[in-house]
Amino acid sequence: MIRVLTAVFFMFFNMIMYFLFGSIPFSLGKKGSFSVTKAVFTGFFLYYLLFALFCIPVMLLFRPLSLLTSVWITVVITVCSFSLVLIILKALKNREEFLSGISEKAEKEGRFFIIILAVTAIEAFIIIYNYQFTLDAAYYVANVTTSVRTDTLNIYDPYTGNWQDHFEMRYFFAVFPLNDAVLCDITGIHPLIWCKTVMAGVSILLTNMVLYMTGKKIFGDNAGKTTLFIIFAGFMNFFFTTIFTPSVFLTTRTYEGKCLLANVVLPGIFYIYINILEDAEKKENWRLLLLVALGAPVLSSSSNMLVPAMIATTILPLCIIKKAPAIAVRSLACMIPGIALVLVYVAYVKGMFVLYTYPR
């Protein structure tokens, strides 16, 4: 029971961490643009982008997981403390507005928010409590277990435990499992509990949060409609499950980066599209899109192709609809990170380079 409560605690711990990371741009920005869900969404991508920026150099220097853990703890504590100070200062500065905003929101949306939380909790319980045998866990979860056990980063083959002489480029930039390993190292939680309970819960929370943000946008802040929208979506996720749909990743492969890609990243870009549709000039929307484009490849290598494709099919057409060529330029700029990583992978497959796990 204590382990279950610990796992639940860490689900919310992760969300708070994302919130603190994502609050910084809002705290430093103009008054009135703050939203808790948007801060969590922003923070989630900022968190993983920053993590990759620290993780990849450590990996390339063949340094141990424990070193990355020490570095990452320092980064997280610094960023979270800085963010907390900014939030407190901002709240003190606009105390009345801050308090009235909370009470107004609680009065208007409180009961709906409780229903949404309850629906999410039920979904999470049903999904996490169910026993699943999935083949991909033999790579993703075993990678975390292997990294923790050997105190290394992508050096050993997760399938067999054998030493690998080179880094597998397919997964090289998608260091999402290595973040799990770092957090297992910090907390002492077993990788299986971390991946299949804590991160599964985080994925479900984020999925419903993006649905909530999208629902609110589509229904013009109508909390009742948004709540019903989430109930329908949750229901569908259990019924539209062939082995290929995003729903099956949400209900069975919840610990994988691909689950986050299908249920958080791509629906998240759709949410950003609605924002850009409303105001294509607002820089905040484009910055958020760029952040998603940079952060998504850390979650799953499939993002490298899907994120540019999503931007091309969803946001790019707006330049014709709105007769604004600037949208095309900005969209293309946001597609560059993914395309660049695809080209790196193609170069690797064509044998143009290899990154060895030892100096040569």
Partner: protein, 296 residues
Amino acid sequence: MQTLNVNDAGFSYIFKCVGYYGEGTLYLLLYLFVIIFIAVKGEKRERLIFLPQAVTGLLTVFNPVFPVVLNRFFDVNKEYYRFFWMFPVITAVSFAAVNIVFRFSKNMVRGTVISLILLCIFGTAGSFIYENGYSGNTNIYQMPGELLQVCDIIHKDSDEQFPKVMAEYDYNMQIRQYDASILLACDREQYIDAITNGVDSEAIRAEENYENRLLAVVGRGVRMDEEAFKKALEETDTEYLVVTRDSDIADYLEEIGLIPVGHTANRSVYRYELKEHEDFELADYTGVWEMQRLFK
């Protein structure tokens, strides 16, 4: 989609891919209905939210020419279906459902409509995730309880920090998720290939890949010549075998002299005494780190 190939299917690839993706459900068709519903009944803003992507999708992702052209540059055979994730099916269908419900003002009518929509989803989906039953986890690791016992048996019996194991299919896929101190003789792809395509006698004889012999015995239940099998255990440095208790293969392992070191309710663990054994040690990078310091 392992069995689908763009080169073989050509322009019909996209239709087959959509068919495989939906597995007989109305998943993508429902999205198409909703898009038509929004085009006809939706407000201008709603049309702008949902229609442009659907149109560009029809012209690109769902265009029969697109996968054929794309496949010339990248191998998209197995993973083309992931492009379908871009279309907000769940969002669009849920939006349409809410829209229909709120066209009625009386709560009684709304309740009835919600029930009808849920029934409709239930009826058209055709694939409820738990249609084959829902089995709760017996432990917080979300692993079969016996797998944890098997790991305990191996570690109690072994002097090695990293004993090497060959297990039956499901345990081979799961054991290292729980315990990365256990090394495996065969990786996932080798195992899937052996289970899907079998292991023929030529592969069993091949000396460059002794894992095939382990796969033939443990994965496919083949009784082979004792010497040939023991040679494979020696060459792959495999010390422990995990098989179903009281099975034909368990009998075979005992017949050829492997030592039973422990049992769970349904599994048996056998040890083979390796004649020549090389201890597995983790790579030592301290020398490399020293060199990196010198370069600074």
